[in-house]
């Protein structure tokens, strides 16, 4: 079965939790179409490469430092790769892991990132649930862009605000 993997990224701290919370919410509250799976990864570094194995498409969910707090942004494959800095294990970010996967031929063609901008660092200490909801609601559109031949519409349709 074709695997489309949604990976929530982040850490347990502050606004950096957004990707993890969004993935958790998708996994709990949405009936995902066959072949679509959701996982969470706490600061995976290069272990992210293992999550590309067997995936036809990968959609990353993450917090984006800077920008307008709460704005959802989509970052395409080429833009992600262009952000890779020379590899450093103490600052081994998503872009660097993607660049290494690309160099090793392990990066799926269909890769994108959906993020919420959190404003100037360090960002808010708590995550506004609305931001998580906004991120989840954009998932179906992002997936359709990544995998145009798959019907994934409606995968965020049942997301409802908890308030």
């Amino acid at each position: 079965m074709t695997t489309i993997r949604i990976i929530g990224l982040g850490s347990p701290f502050g606004a950096d939790r957004i990707g993890l919370l969004a993935a958790r919410r998708l996994a709990r509250e949405v009936r995902l179409p066959p072949g679509v799976e959701v996982i969470e990864r706490d600061r995976p570094g290069l272990r992210l490469l293992e999550d590309f194995t067997g995936a036809r498409a990968v959609l990353l969910l993450d917090a984006l430092a800077g920008g307008i707090p709460g704005r959802v942004r989509e970052v395409e494959r080429s833009a992600l790769l262009a952000r890779a800095a020379p590899l450093s294990s103490h600052a081994l970010g998503v872009a660097e892991a993607l660049a290494l996967a690309e160099a090793l031929g392990r990066l799926p063609e269909a890769v994108g990132l959906l993020g919420v901008e959190t404003g100037p660092a360090p960002g808010p200490e708590d995550v506004d649930p609305v931001w998580v909801q906004a991120l989840c609601l954009r998932v179906p559109v992002a997936l359709e862009r990544l995998v145009p031949d798959r019907r994934v519409a409606g995968c965020g349709g049942r997301i409802r605000s908890r308030r």
């Binding site: 701290f13 502050g14 706490d42 600061r43 570094g45 290069l46 272990r47 490469l49 293992e50 890779a84 020379p86 590899l87 450093s88 294990s89 103490h90 600052a91 081994l92 660049a99 290494l100 160099a103 090793l104 031929g105 360090p122 200490e125 708590d126």
Partner: protein, 432 residues
């Protein structure tokens, strides 16, 4: 978020700026001054820890480093248990050794393949190297993942494991997790043996210098969690006498304290450990080392990459030995300790070298004073000395860019925390 959470984040933010700077004064064909600056966060932790319960210490100090959190936990519990008069039994010792093996494997695999190999094979970074040598990078990733897996199985997660407690583990895995781990470790033994030969086949500079080596020394084992502190000078002392022999001192150009032994800089880490403990290697590992044809003890810091490979093979062999017949978990689970007003000392072998902790506790087990001496700061004076001698031999009339690259390579042999960045040195050369 609580205030406690915020205080833990400080070094993480600071580490983003973690980089070195090298300033050299050159007069003719001699270096008259060489200053290496390293940002070193553990000093802040010594103050954070004051007033905290001994129960919080292992998880707090784990945050000092994302690559070697186990080392900080191990030295901390050793010091705490020393203060409160607890001696780990054989089961707990074995489980802790297995956890430490995981950290050595992941840390060394990362350094050899992703940080050092591009220097040796002539690439700007691992991203360029991955195109020409994908199998080397893949091997590094596989070994690193295996080390991380050991940490995850024993510690609950692969970064900043959470199961280490004073007096034992908060939980330990059963056969459902250990059996597949044993198989995976056994399957990787051949790779590790080959890795030793591969590192020895690399074209490494022949740059021998004179310096003392310092490492733990254990009666029976290749040292990880315990032993006396030994040096190639003939020194052999209990951990509690560390501060009587090793002097930490401040230099104006660095936030990290430097260290010296009897007035000299010294080396800690894989090469120092191997130089002092070759007779403690299990036979298959000793044979792999002998087959390299490299004479040990070695005082060529470029052979550190070989020492790291030997230690990966050793750690994997030890992991397989422990996992072949895992000790019962129950005696290794944490039990309440009896806090008392006392001082305790701990020193274990972090991947980068000996990591010394001392704590003074009040009667309730709250930290009154803490002292943490990490391997990178102990190596700092040696790194400066090495870089000075190596650059002079390399030729000071070369362009600054060549000097910077070679200096980086020399310093990267020590795997200091700053070595992770591909271009971590800002070089300032003052020529007269």
């Amino acid at each position: 978020m609580t205030k406690r959470g915020r205080s833990i984040r400080v070094p993480v933010l600071a580490r983003v700026e973690g980089e070195g700077a090298l300033e050299i004064d050159i007069a003719g064909n001699r270096i008259t001054r060489l200053d290496l600056r390293i940002y070193e966060p553990p000093r802040l932790f010594e103050k954070f820890l004051e007033g905290r319960s001994y129960l919080e210490v292992p998880d707090m100090v784990a945050r000092i480093c994302g690559i070697c959190p186990v080392a900080y936990q191990m030295s901390a519990v050793a010091a705490i248990e020393d203060a409160f008069g607890f001696t780990p039994g054989p089961e707990l010792r074995a489980w802790r050794r297995l956890l430490y093996c995981g950290e050595w494997i992941e840390s060394h695999a990362l350094h050899i393949h992703l940080l050092a190999a591009p220097d040796v094979l002539g690439f700007e970074s691992v991203l360029d190297m991955a195109q020409a040598w994908p199998e080397v990078v893949e091997r590094g990733l596989r070994l690193q993942a295996l080390g991380n897996r050991i940490l995850a199985v024993l510690g609950g997660r692969s970064v900043h494991p959470v199961s280490v407690r004073p007096g034992g583990f908060s939980r330990l895995p059963g056969p459902e997790a250990l059996d597949p781990l044993q198989e995976a470790c056994r399957a990787a033994l051949e790779t590790a043996r080959d890795l030793v030969a591969w590192t020895a086949s690399l074209d490494l500079p022949r740059e021998t210098q004179d310096f003392p080596c310092v490492a733990l020394r254990h009666p029976h084992e290749y040292p990880m969690n315990e032993g006396r502190i030994a040096a190639t000078t003939g020194l052999e002392i209990p951990v509690s006498e560390f501060e009587a022999h090793f002097e930490e001192y401040q230099v104006p150009h660095s936030t990290a304290l430097h260290s010296r032994l009897a007035g000299r800089s010294y080396l800690v880490g894989p090469l120092a450990r191997l130089n002092l403990n070759r007779d403690r290697l299990p036979p298959p590992v000793a044979e792999a080392l002998a087959a390299t044809g490299i004479a040990f003890p070695s005082h060529n810091s470029h052979f550190s990459i070989v020492a790291r490979a030997v230690e990966i093979f050793l750690a994997l062999s030890e992991a397989v030995r422990i996992l072949d017949d895992p000790p019962p978990a129950a005696p290794a689970l944490a039990r309440p300790l009896q806090p008392r007003a006392a001082e305790g000392f701990g020193c274990t072998e972090a991947p980068r070298g000996i990591l010394y902790h001392r704590y003074r506790f009040d009667a309730d087990g709250r930290v009154q004073a803490a002292r943490i001496t990490p391997p990178t700061s102990q190596n700092q004076a040696r790194m400066e000395e090495d870089a000075r001698l190596a650059l002079e031999r390399f030729g000071l009339d070369r362009p600054d860019e060549e000097l910077r690259r070679y200096a980086e390579r020399v310093i990267r042999n020590y795997d200091p925390c700053i070595s992770c960045a591909t271009h971590f040195l800002r070089l300032k050369v003052n020529r007269r």
